[in-house]
């Protein structure tokens, strides 16, 4: 039941208000690159504060969503994806080796791309924990959305105890 309580607490305090999607930027071709422009919805989010009910008024206090930080995160992600898809000696060696072994080697070892994806997952988790969760945001790893979008979930802060 302890879990229940904590869930209750959490749910009482936060629920998803909106989601913002950062789309892909194809100006560099088919490379995975997300738009670094700070979405306007995140900016406007800072304004929407007062949610209330007849008997209760829920205060809303959230740190300003740091534009620079956000853009920095997206830029880092873009760099990581570029690294994953880079045509360098490592990828060539991997490709040739795989070809020579009739691609059986892919069954045993992890590709360079997969290794970078793991790095990206870790990075996003780190960013969420350090920067975005305190601001009531959550970044979803794009791989879970088929590398189409970076989904930013905005949580409503609400405290029952005023």
């Amino acid at each position: 039941m302890a879990e229940t309580h904590s869930l209750q607490d959490m749910r009482q305090q936060a629920s998803v208000a909106a989601k913002v999607f950062i789309q892909r930027d194809y100006t560099n071709g088919t490379v995975c690159h997300f738009q670094t422009k700070f979405p306007s919805e995140l900016e406007s989010r800072q304004q929407s504060m007062a949610f209330w009910s007849n008997s209760t008024c829920f205060q809303f206090s959230r740190e300003k969503i740091n534009k620079q930080q956000f853009e920095e995160t997206v830029r880092t992600l873009n760099n990581l994806y570029a690294e994953a898809e880079k045509l360098g000696s490592q990828s060539y060696i991997e490709g040739c080796l795989a070809c020579l072994t009739a691609y059986i080697i892919f069954l045993c070892m992890e590709t360079h791309y997969e290794k970078v994806l793991k790095k990206i997952a870790k990075y996003i988790q780190e960013q969420n924990e350090k920067i975005y969760a305190p601001q009531g945001l959550l970044l979803t790893d794009p791989i879970e959305r088929g590398l189409r979008v970076i989904e930013v979930t905005i949580f409503e802060e609400r405290s029952l105890t005023r």
Binding site: E3, S6, L7, Q8, D9, M10, R11, Q12, Q13, S15, V16, A17, A18, K19, F21, Q23, R24, Y26, T27, G29, T30, S40, E41, S44, S48, F51, W52, S53, N54, S55, T56, K86, L87, S91, Y92, E94, G95, C96, A98, Y103, F106, T111, Y113, Q125, N128, E129, Y132, A133, P134, L138, I143, R145, G146, V149, E151, T153, F155, E156, R158, L160
Partner: protein, 532 residues
Amino acid sequence: MHLGVSESMRECEYNQISTRSSTPMETPYKNRTPKKRKWESFPGRNKFYCNGRIMMAKQTGVFYLTLALILVTCGLFFTFDCPFLALQLTPVIPVIGGVLFLFVLGTLLRTSFSDPGVLPRANADEAADLERQIDVANGSTGYRPPPRTKEVVINGQTVKLKYCFTCKIFRPPRASHCSLCDNCVERFDHHCPWVGNCVGRRNYRFFYMFILSLSFLTIFIFSFVITHIILRSHRFGFLSALKDSPASVLEVVVCFFSVWSIVGLSGFHTYLISSNQTTNEDIKGSWSSKRGKDNYNPYSYGNIFTNCCAALCGPLPPSLIDRRGFVRSDAPQLAPPTNGITTYGATQSQQGHMLLFCSPWKQITLKAAVIKTFSPSGVRHLIQVSEIKIKAAATPLLQQHSSEPVILTTCPENGGSMPGRGPLTLGGPCASLPLGQPTPPTSIPSLGCHEAADMLPIHGHGHSHNHSHPLQEPVAHHHFLTPEEVPSPPGMLPCGSPMGHNHAMQAGFYNPASQDSLHEDSVRGLVKLSFV
């Protein structure tokens, strides 16, 4: 109902719900019935084998023909020709033949069984977001807007990105929708019936290796069978040679006809690779100079060597569709906990689970909502707001107690004196969230309106809904049915408007339907971090 519902009362309510429900409510939210893997509810027309490890197109008859031809021809070669050749010439011949054969088989199976680069369909939130952007761009006239395209400049060339109505995404450059498999595929080359799969970004190199090695194998077998017959003819005469080795005749015939097509195809694809084009682009003449003087291929690296290396030895992207992942049912949705309930339920492909995983607080919410419903002032609004959620989360209840308006959410404007206020609604946004169904359950956000009709008992309560479509079919696979179920165009926004009282927040707000429990877990974890 008040916020301050005591713990014991909550427990009571929880128990009540669980006993009334047909599903085992007491199962802790973490305990799930057998999970379904994502491939089982994949929206495309693909066939999966080995529990999602193997992925093929729907029509695989020709693939088996290809396999049979290769196996039979090689089998005959090794059985009838190789012994003679090994003795008369060199034993290296069968060895090389064997290596080639294994390579051909390996690459064929790799091409046929792997994911060609299918783009997963957009979930409801994304689709709604895109729709909104498109509507904003088009001026939202109310009727279905003309085919949607987006223009982007890539390396100086203007490329049109088309919107895929099936997958609800703007296709990335070079992607195309395969009508046979009903999927958008990245860097779509063509759908090859001979390998029983699409050829796209992830399996193009395997395909190329297959046809290249098959051409070598075909030429190899053809030449050595001819050699065999000639050598035999020298000794025993031509007719006698043919009689001694009838299989050779069959092999020659098969190889002769195959050589032209396979070698031709290899040559064609070698050209495509060296110019970094897809079959699709070549056939359409997308980058042909005939279209214009300034028309060139923006994806080409400039020289043949780099193009070849990029196509064959470049990094292999992983599959985006996570076939063997489990369908998550308890992903927190863009909704208050009540929605969470439904959402959770919604994401689950089996409706029987709708309330199964619900954590106690969700169940409490449910109960609370029920009580609230009877309050006259609350009925109408609650029905509006909670209708969708009920479908997803409360179907078992509905089935049991059709007369009971199981409304899940409560809107603050009703005085919000619902217990567990927090968990119940988003508080403020409840009423004000336009896409109303404040946080409709996962699969329902955009379907919400349309599925509202499912909740007949609710309707029966005398509340007429704008979106009462007689959709009886329960959403079994929320996870992937979303795009299929939404009648065109996704009626989320239009649906939401009449229902919600407040459209003001429409612009940036959606009722996301995240179906990812990983997401939810992170949410829980993170929320915990920030608030606990």
